[in-house]
Amino acid sequence: MAGQASAPPEESIYQQFTPHRAGLPNLVEYFRLVWRRREFATEMSKSRVRGSHDNTVFGTAWLLIDPMLQSTIYFVMITFIRGHSSSGPTPGQTFAHLTSALFAFRLCQNALSTGAKSVTGAGKVLLNTNFPRLLIPLSAVRTGFTRFLPTIPLYLLIHLLVGEKWRVTMIGGIFFLGCLLVFGMGLSALAATLTVYFRDFANFLPYIMRLWMYLSPVLWLPSQIKGKPPAVQSLMEGNPMYTMLGGYSQLLQNGHVPALHVWATAAFWAIASVVVGFLFFISREREFAVRVL
């Protein structure tokens, strides 16, 4: 919290609580504390998973069935309803792209929606225990990631089923996945803070996320916006998900290594989100103890 002036031995703990400078505690100290309590975040996340029975057979099955059903619906939508152009990718390719991108998008979506309610749902632990509050949204991101993990082998299976081959370059997808995860952490902290001030924020979230998904290369391929008006193109490319999801699905699906600027932009968005989200959260977390009841 506030600047704990020393990292003392167990016997003589000396803590000094001082006012936050510019609304922020000593960040080095803060993140050291976050690191020291990482097991708490891990355990909180695990307990959330256990609490919702995700670790049971049917719980895990649901983690696979749910995204599969969703991708099936979207697949029907984009191939039969929107119509399938002969010049575009084959239905198999479309399905592979859809699943890879959708699963990754759901990672962010999960982190955001769990994170949004995490602080307001933390209850009394906020009121009577002193620990860096950032651990709460971070544990929510971990939960989201745990729920995402089973879809990786699922995608790899789909990849084979649609007639593609596993390639070495697919490993590059891990970078973009990491970017998505870090991006999700920042968003989660941001959403958690906003929910403290606007408790109905979580209600808006599904709509925001759906709109965002339509703007991201999930239901369409990055190559498909070529030839659109420049304004639309730049809008689409300004979306953080464009580079992160685009690069990820490109690597996974075709094994095409994206251009360098795609990697750089993805990393930039991830870092920007974390810096903004974390600083906003930390600057506000002092008020949580009096705002969250």
């Binding site: 703990i13 803590q15 009841l293």
Partner: protein
């Protein structure tokens, strides 16, 4: 008021139920007292009913329904009345009360009655004054003489901590007819309860004792006869459901599974005033003074051992919302109206003090004075707006009990989470979880989801987590509750042990008796400012005299109007 408490009680303390109950009956904050007026009409002519219900009494002993209990009570009363004394007689809670030993008369006077009422225990004391007036005022006197009326009103009007035990016999009782009237008025329930826990023979025996004691009381409060007349009427009715199940079902063993007992606790907890709750503190003996560590101000702060806490020019200001649940929708609506719903709260202003190692500090003040904010600041939950707080050691989390995280998890998993939140490593937490789990004595329930727990059981878990983290700075808030009587004793012992080990203890309480007994210094905070600090007796006296003055001032303001 619910039937839980009395039903629960014999299971908690089967041996002492008779002695323990009277105090329960007299809880001034207790809805029982509040309900008295409603019930009094029934008691207007209770005798015929009472004779009828003699049959009910024996005929339907197992029925837990309220009417039967009511009849039972009337029957018991009638029996006693037949025994010789035409007036209602009662037995005073005597020394067999296991809790009685913990109460000083002062305690009884000063203890808090409820958490939220602004007129807490201490503030009730000035509450005598209306009675002073009542005694002097002939009009009021006349009203008092009318059967029933005053007795009905007064317990409700005076939720003070006094009408608990007979030891409270300050000069007022002699002087003030009104005061003694309601002191007496509150006692019959005590007798009812006590008598009912006994077998029929025991009842007779007790009734005799009771009569003797009644005469004593009469002698003491001479002149209060007229007032005490209506009390018998009120007594049995004023105690809505305190009939112990042990009476209704005499054949059944009184001991019930711990879970059931705990399950029934919540109702009782809500119904009980502050006093029951403070049993936890009353079990603690005043701490033996420790050796004072010589001044170490020459050492750099982190190496000092003579201080436990140092607060320098501490101010805490925060902004909070009017709305309990601020929403975006409301924010937009407010924006349309050009309003703001944020207000700034100056919770603490320029507070400085030092606490030496080995001290016990009592913090007193009205509700909203900033006591809890101070505790939160000391434990680092709420960083200061200006000034510094230095704490030598880890603070406990007893501020507001309930560190339960996830109700779909088992108690054990919650303990692990609590330990991790307190800063333990995973291995330590797992290791200590076993120990804590044993300590809670929840048996198999420890591995059941917390949602299956009663609130008493959940309170055990929370308390166990808090006390097993070996805090250096022990913080005890008044709202401390720990479940049933057995566990309370255990918790009390643990607290004593902790207190003797800890570097310092902070006690926030409206029970001024506890403060003077347990603390060696006191801090009085009002509206975020430190008003006084020093010996507990002095500070408490100052606090009380100010409260009295305030009360008088308000009263006179009102008269002017």
């Amino acid at each position: 008021m619910s039937s839980e408490t009395p039903a629960d009680r014999p299971t908690d303390t089967p041996d002492t139920s008779g002695g323990g109950r009277p105090r329960r009956a007299l809880q001034p904050g207790d809805p029982a007292v509040a309900e008295q007026p409603d019930r009094t009409p029934h008691s207007g002519a209770p005798d015929p009913e009472a004779t009828d219900s003699d049959a009910t009494d024996s005929g339907a002993p197992g029925s837990p329904s309220t009417p039967v209990r009511f009849h039972d009570r009337l029957a018991a009363r009638a029996r006693r009345a037949e025994a010789g004394d035409p007036r209602w007689s009662w037995e005073l809670p005597d020394s067999e009360d296991p809790d009685g030993s913990h109460h000083t008369p002062e305690d009884d006077t000063l203890h808090d009655t409820s958490d939220d009422t602004p007129g807490d225990g201490p503030e009730q004391r000035p509450g005598h004054e209306p009675d002073d007036k009542a005694a002097d005022d002939p009009v009021v006197d006349r009203r008092v003489d009318e059967a029933g009326t005053p007795a009905r009103e007064q317990p409700g009007d005076e939720p003070a901590g006094q009408p608990k035990d007979q030891p409270y016999e300050p000069p007022q009782q002699g002087q003030l007819g009104g005061a003694s009237a309601w002191i007496a008025a509150a006692q019959p329930p005590a007798q009812t309860q006590t008598a009912q826990t006994q077998t029929a023979q025991a009842q007779t025996a007790q009734a005799q004792t009771a009569q003797e004691q009644t005469t004593d009381i009469e002698a003491q409060s001479s002149g209060a006869d007229a007032e005490s007349e209506p009390e018998p009427v009120l007594g049995p009715d004023g105690k809505p459901l305190p009939m112990p199940t042990g009476f209704g079902t005499p054949s059944k063993p009184t001991r019930k599974p711990a879970r059931k007992a705990a399950k029934r606790r919540p109702g009782g907890k809500a119904a009980l005033g502050g006093k029951q709750r403070f049993k936890l503190l009353q079990g603690m003996a005043p701490r033996a003074p420790r050796e004072e560590i010589p001044d170490q101000s020459h050492l750099p702060a982190p190496q000092r051992t003579d201080l436990a806490v140092r607060v320098t020019d501490l101010s805490v200001t925060y902004r909070t919302s009017f709305e309990k649940k601020p929403t975006f929708r409301q924010a937009v609506m407010r924006l349309g109206r050009g309003q703001r719903a944020v207000r700034e709260i100056k919770a603490l202003q320029d507070i400085s003090f030092e606490v030496k190692t080995g001290s016990s500090v009592g913090i007193i003040g009205r509700n909203g004075a900033g006591k809890s904010t101070l505790m939160r600041t000391l434990s680092g939950i709420l960083p200061p707006t200006s000034g510094t707080v230095e704490v030598w050691g880890r603070a406990s989390t007893l501020l507001a009990l309930g560190v339960n995280f996830n109700h779909s998890l088992s108690g054990r998993e919650n303990i692990i989470l609590g330990a991790l939140a307190a800063g333990l490593s995973k291995d330590e937490a797992v290791e200590r979880a076993g120990e804590i789990a044993d300590w809670t004595e929840l048996g198999d329930f420890i591995d059941m989801p917390m949602r299956t727990y009663s609130s008493g059981m959940a309170a055990r878990i929370s308390f166990a987590i808090a006390v097993h983290m070996e805090p250096d700075i022990l913080m005890i808030d008044e709202g401390l509750s720990t479940g049933d009587a057995h566990f309370k004793d255990k918790a009390s012992a643990k607290m004593t042990e902790l207190r003797d080990k800890a570097r310092a203890m902070f006690l926030v309480s409206h029970g001024l008796g506890s403060i003077t007994e347990l603390c060696d210094q006191a801090i009085w905070i009002d509206k975020g400012r430190l008003i006084a600090r020093g010996e507990p007796e002095e500070v408490v006296d100052k606090y009380l005299s100010t409260l009295r003055a305030d009360r008088k001032r308000k009263a006179s303001d009102f008269e002017d109007v």
